[in-house]
Structure formats: structure tokens, C-alpha cells
Amino acid sequence: MSETAGQQHPIGIYLKIWLLLFVLSTFSYLVDYFHLEGFLRWSLILLFMFLKAGFIIAIFMHLTWERLSLKYVLFLPLLAIAVLIALMSIEGDHTHLMRLTFFDE
């Protein structure tokens, strides 16, 4: 490898993202603190989660500046996980229904 092949960005961007992650974490904590319920609770939890995860991957792990070749290697396999989640939620629902029908006292 060429010796300078490394990620080099101004340090200020890390401080900004750090601050942003702090704010987003505070928001997700407040979702619980204020006892938000139902659809609002779940959508806010997911929103803050994906924002935090996105900033960590994009900036801290430098994926924004990587080649598309690597991005595809990392993100295409995740489709399999999406399929697994879908299948397991169907299965979980089914098991729940069966337990209620046959085992609930």
C-alpha cells in the first residue's frame, strides 16, 4: 500500500458528530423518560437509532469516503438479515397465537 493511504479529515468533524450523537442519545433517553407510548414511541426510537448508527458508520468508520466496492460488500448481505427478521416475526406471531389457543390457562 502507498504509505499515505489513510483516512485524513479535519478533527472538527469528529467533535461535531460526537456532539450530535450525544444529543440524539439524550433524545432517545427522553422518549423513555416522558413515557411516550405506542406508534410515536417506536417510530422515535427507530429514527434516533438509525440516525446514530448512520453517523457512526458514515463518519467515525469513514464509510462515506470508501469506495462503492466496499459499501456493496457490507450492505448487500444485510438483505439476508431483513429476510430473517421478517420470517421470525411471522413465526413469533404464529407461536404466540398457538400458545394462546392451546396452552393459556
Binding site: A5, Q8, S25
Partner: protein, 226 residues
């Protein structure tokens, strides 16, 4: 062999660049092999944690007994004030802070500022160690005071304990391994071992550390907040 020089063979952006990376007679990934292997490892680790979290979703959906409310289970009394989830929130902030110091350590390493790199990596490892310490406290409280066991608990669905110990335990193990990894790399940076080889190793260690933080984001959302 491609007639272009090595540098500009990786400059073409987008899909045509990706096709060139994969199809041309050259190395597909423009990075040190160690970094690529870390990415592949992290992808496999993503699958492990995804499977844990998916199985947690599955047993929580199928449980007929009521799921214990994590907001109350993990609440603490601090100076007489009842605070839900406060320890978990503090652990989250500690881990995010350690990710911030790690990102800056990578930056300093590539600028060959060894002193700052070692200092920032040590801070990262110490924050990680304090995270593990708080987790040990959390586990102790849960086992001794709340009576949570992998096979049951007084608050509700028995599956709560097994998924909790499995998921947070596996994550805690990753943090512990990361602390050791960072300590070893920091020591070698201090000794000047990478002056010749270059400092990609700090970025590689950083990828692992950010991943541990990343997994915690998902555990925090799905296990503690949901």
C-alpha cells in the same frame, strides 16, 4: 496489466468505478489487507448480533406472560430521586465518548502524532473499562437484588433473563476484548513499532471499537427502550 497508474485506477466514482474495481486486473479493494479483513470480520459479527436480536424479538413476540418493563427494571434511586434507565443512559454516553476519542486517535495516528495517539487510545480504553465496570454493577444488581436468572425472574416472562444475559454478555465480552486490543496497540504505538509500517493499524482497531459502539446503539434501542 492495466496501463493506468495505481493511484488513478481507484478514482473513478460510482457504479462504473465499482465495476472497474471488481473486473479489472487489479486488487479489488483499495486498502491494506488488515483493514479489509476487519471489515469482513465486522460483517460476520453483524450477523451474530443480528441473530441474537432477532431471536430476542421472536421470543418476546411469542411470550404469553407479560414482558418485564425495562424502564423500571433498570431504574436507580440516586439521592432519593427515582430515575428510570439512568445507568444505561450513562453507559451509552460513556461509550459514545470513547468512540469520539477513538476517532480522534485515528486522526492523530495518520498525522504521526504518537503522543496524542497514545493518550487518546488510553482514554478510549479507560472509558471502555468503565463501561464494563458499570455493566458488572448492573448485572450484580439484577442477579442479587431483582432475582433475574436466565431461566426466570419475578417480574414476568422467563425469556427476559436469557436474552438479556446472552445479548449484553456477548456485547460486554466484545468491549472487554476491545479494551485489551486497544491497550496492546497503544503500547506498540508508544514504542514506535509502526513508524515504518504506517498507522493503518490504529484505524483498524478504531473500526472494531466503533462497531462495538454501533452494536450498543441497537441493543439500547431494542432491549432497553422498546
Amino acid at each position: 496489466m492495466d496501463t493506468r497508474t495505481r493511484e488513478d485506477s481507484y478514482t473513478e466514482p460510482g457504479v462504473s468505478g465499482m465495476v472497474a474495481d471488481w473486473a479489472a486486473d487489479k486488487q479489488a479493494f483499495d486498502m491494506p489487507w488488515g483493514k479489509l479483513m476487519m471489515w469482513i470480520f465486522l460483517l460476520s459479527d453483524t450477523f451474530i448480533f443480528s441473530i441474537f436480536l432477532t431471536s430476542y424479538m421472536n421470543v418476546r413476540m411469542s411470550a404469553t406472560a407479560e414482558w418485564p418493563n425495562p424502564s423500571e427494571v433498570f431504574a436507580l434511586e440516586i439521592a432519593g430521586v427515582h430515575l428510570p434507565l439512568i445507568l444505561i443512559a450513562i453507559m451509552t454516553f460513556v461509550l459514545i465518548t470513547s468512540s469520539g476519542t477513538m476517532a480522534m486517535a485515528v486522526n492523530c495516528a495518520y498525522r504521526r502524532d504518537r503522543r496524542k495517539t497514545v493518550w487518546l487510545m488510553t482514554a478510549t480504553a479507560l472509558l471502555g473499562a468503565s463501561f464494563v465496570g458499570m455493566q458488572a454493577f448492573e448485572w450484580t444488581k439484577l442477579i442479587v437484588e431483582e432475582g433475574v436468572r436466565p431461566w426466570g425472574n419475578p417480574m414476568g416472562a422467563a425469556q427476559f433473563g436469557s436474552t438479556f444475559f446472552m445479548i449484553t454478555g456477548f456485547h460486554g465480552m466484545h468491549v472487554t476484548a476491545g479494551v485489551i486490543y486497544l491497550a496492546i496497540v497503544a503500547r506498540r504505538v508508544a514504542k514506535g513499532r509502526y513508524e515504518q509500517k504506517g498507522y493503518a493499524i490504529v484505524e483498524i482497531a478504531g473500526l472494531y471499537w466503533h462497531f462495538v459502539d454501533l452494536v450498543w446503539v441497537f441493543i439500547f434501542a431494542f432491549f432497553y427502550l422498546w
